[in-house]
């Protein structure tokens, strides 16, 4: 018997901007004249079929507002589906909020019983698990103190301890892991891991793909304007990551186009605080960041090739011209800078108008937000035209390494040490 079965489940929300919220409004509405009934319908879930087998840990991922929480609420019977049928076999515990119904004037002890009964535990079960709850929450000393004097972390700990004290067959978890201090979070994850090993069915909503990967055997991906997709964790998580990047890249392009440079001076670029100076013998008319396929981008994956194409125009003849760029991390760290003079590139016989292109074969920046300065100046460093910064560049990575940049590298394990290598 499957633990959770959803058959053609849809949920429609109706936003009635105009629905009277009180008798007073109702009265005014009845005798008043304007009757424009603002009704807005939207479907959060559409014809969703899902079968969760006992013992499965299913992760729910998707952008905001795609119905992940709605789905959990439907399964927990907090709201009713518009169409379709939901069957749940087994005792269910929904952790949508920790410490639901806590009362600040009551002591920790009293709240344990109150919260437990709200979650549907009997007095006998509560008494049987009481010590375990207190121990897990690490609140022995504060048990008879009113909850008012607890820190928010302590309250959350108590809530989690109560909610997971009893062994439900099915556990629904909605991002509640993102609370408490580091140590307690580890404890929470460990407890969920225990549940998993005990063969409980778990549905987990999280935006943290790492948590999902760590805990879930399968993933359901909900997205607006595309059918829900489920499958093995690694496959779906990767697809989802790809989708998020594409979406972000698309949005950045739109944003960049909306704000982008009036060439030759004036205000520039996506970063709000661009400054721009120079004597004006030469002007930067536009800069494009191009990916491998020569498509303009503002988001790349770490290690991908990137080209910076600088458009210029000569206003008055000059004796020397040096083009340069600099990359800054969002916290202001100067990650890299170079120019044509430092790299020994000749730029003497320039056309009056043209482009200079800088190619990175693989830009190994660590994932993060960066900005790019672009400048053209003379050999002594006096700026003709200097943009600080010119545009933003986001770097995403599927590897969670740290630092500033990623040198090309590889690991070798259990190979004979170099130098002692025997010739074959």
């Amino acid at each position: 018997m499957s633990a959770i079965i959803l058959e053609g489940v849809s949920k429609k929300f109706v936003l009635q901007h105009d629905r009277p919220r009180s008798f007073q409004e109702l009265l005014i509405r009845t005798f008043g004249r304007n009757h424009n009934r603002g009704r807005e319908e939207f479907w959060t879930l559409r014809d969703l079929d899902l079968v969760v087998e006992p013992g499965q840990t299913l992760g729910l991922i998707g952008s905001n507002g795609t119905g992940k929480s709605t789905l959990l609420k439907l399964i927990a019977r907090i709201i009713q589906p518009t169409t379709g049928k939901i069957t749940v076999n087994g005792r269910l515990m929904a952790l949508l909020e920790l410490g639901a119904g806590f009362h600040l004037d009551l002591s920790g002890r009293e709240n344990i019983f109150l919260n437990g009964s709200i979650l549907g535990l009997s007095a006998r079960e509560m008494r049987a698990h009481f010590d375990e709850i207190v121990a897990f929450a690490e609140l022995e000393r504060f048990l008879d103190m009113p909850l008012r004097h607890y820190s928010s972390g302590m309250q959350v700990r108590l809530g989690f301890a109560v909610a997971t004290s009893l062994n439900p067959d099915i556990l629904l978890i909605d991002e509640v892991l993102a609370v408490g201090d580091e140590a307690f979070q580890k404890k929470c994850v460990a407890r969920i891991d225990d549940f998993r090993r005990c063969g409980k069915t778990i549905l987990l909503v999280s935006h943290n793909l790492e948590t999902i990967k760590q805990l879930c055997s399968g993933v359901l991906w909900l997205e607006t304007n595309r059918p829900a997709e489920s499958g093995p964790t690694l496959l779906i998580a990767e697809k989802y990551r790809q989708h998020v990047w594409e979406e972000e890249a698309r949005k950045r392009e739109v944003a960049a186009h909306a704000t982008c440079p009036a060439p030759a001076g004036g205000s520039v670029g996506s970063p709000a605080s661009t400054t721009h100076w120079g004597s004006g013998e030469m002007l930067i008319t536009g800069v494009r960041l191009l990916n491998r396929a020569r498509q303009p981008v503002h988001l790349i994956e770490s290690g991908e090739p990137l080209s910076v194409e600088i458009g210029y125009r000569v206003q008055r003849p000059t004796t020397s011209q040096v083009f340069g760029i600099a990359i800054y991390r969002s916290d202001g760290l100067w990650c890299y800078g170079t120019n044509t003079a430092l790299d020994g590139v000749e730029t003497v016989e320039l056309a009056k108008e043209g482009t200079v292109c800088l190619d990175f074969e693989g830009l190994g920046l660590i994932a993060g937000e960066y900005t790019l300065d672009v400048a053209v100046h003379d050999s002594l460093g006096r700026a003709y035209d200097y943009y600080h910064p010119y545009c933003a560049l986001a770097v995403r990575s599927r590897i969670q390494d740290v630092g500033v940049y990623r040198p090309a590298h590889r690991w070798r394990v259990n190979e004979p040490r170099s130098g002692q290598r025997k010739e074959v």
Partner: protein
């Protein structure tokens, strides 16, 4: 519906804990907690006694303070229970949005915690009976039956009001006004016998005394308390029975109404 009732029984611990929470929260913050809750009816009693024995002397009613208190305490229970019920769903919005449990637990606990208060307040009533040397007769044994009828009626009405308040938030405000009118329409500060059996309104002859009994279940309930405690007389059984039927019908309707809409509470509150 049977399944729902069974589930409610499974959650009886919740009702119990909610009642305990209400009571503890009410009495915890003030040392005088319990006494404080008795002060209100006592003060009301004093005020009405001053008005009706000194300012508008009424020799007809003996031992006015007891006469009044017999009806005032049940009415206060009724009023507090309804006021508690009407907001019970809306006040627990965050809970309803996040946890599933039988929603009826909230209005039920609202009525029951006020019922416990009422029982505690009865101590004062019995003290007054003793002080005014009104003997308790065997008729006082009817008290639990009358209380049961009142709880049933109040809960039925409370379920309906709690539901309406989810959709129209000023229900609680309107209730306040209605309760005030209802207080004066119910024989609390006057004996029901005072109501005329023949009254001419707009050319119609009305038996106000009888109408009051028929149209206002609280009139029957409040008078019954007074009959068995103050008068020490047996209650009129046919009236009691009719009131019981009314109360049960009210609870049935209220429960149907509430369960019909409670599925949408998760989105509406």
């Amino acid at each position: 519906m049977i399944a729902k009732l069974v589930e409610l029984i499974r959650y009886r611990e919740l009702v119990r804990n909610l009642v305990l929470r209400d009571l503890k929260a009410r009495y915890k913050n003030s040392v005088l907690g319990f006494l404080w809750s008795l002060l209100n009816p006592l003060l009301t009693m004093v005020v009405f006694t001053v008005v009706f024995t000194f300012m508008m002397p009424n020799t007809e009613i003996q031992k006015f303070p007891v006469f009044l208190l017999c009806a005032l305490l049940p009415w206060n229970f009724f009023q507090a229970a309804l006021t508690g019920c009407v907001n019970s769903i809306v006040d627990h919005a965050s809970l309803i949005k996040k946890v599933y449990f039988p929603r009826e637990a909230l209005p039920i606990s609202g009525v029951l915690s006020n019922f416990v208060n009422f029982l505690l307040a009865l101590v004062v009533l019995f003290a007054m009976l003793f002080a005014f040397r009104i003997p308790l007769t065997r008729q006082a044994l009817w008290l639990p039956v009358i209380m049961a009828i009142q709880v049933i009626f109040t809960l039925g009405l409370g379920l309906i009001l709690a539901t309406i308040n989810v959709f129209y938030r000023d229900t609680s405000v309107i209730l306040g006004v209605v309760l005030q009118a209802w207080f004066f329409l119910t024989p609390i500060i006057y004996p029901i016998e005072r109501l005329p059996t023949e009254s001419h309104v707009l050319g119609l002859t009305l038996n106000v005394h009888r109408l009051s009994y028929i149209l206002n279940p609280m009139a029957s309930i409040v008078s019954s308390y007074r009959v068995v405690l103050y008068n020490g007389a047996p209650p009129a059984l046919d009236f009691m029975l009719r009131t019981l039927v009314t109360a049960l019908a009210m609870l049935f309707l209220g429960y149907l109404f509430f369960s019909h809409y409670s599925a949408t509470f998760g989105e509406e509150v």
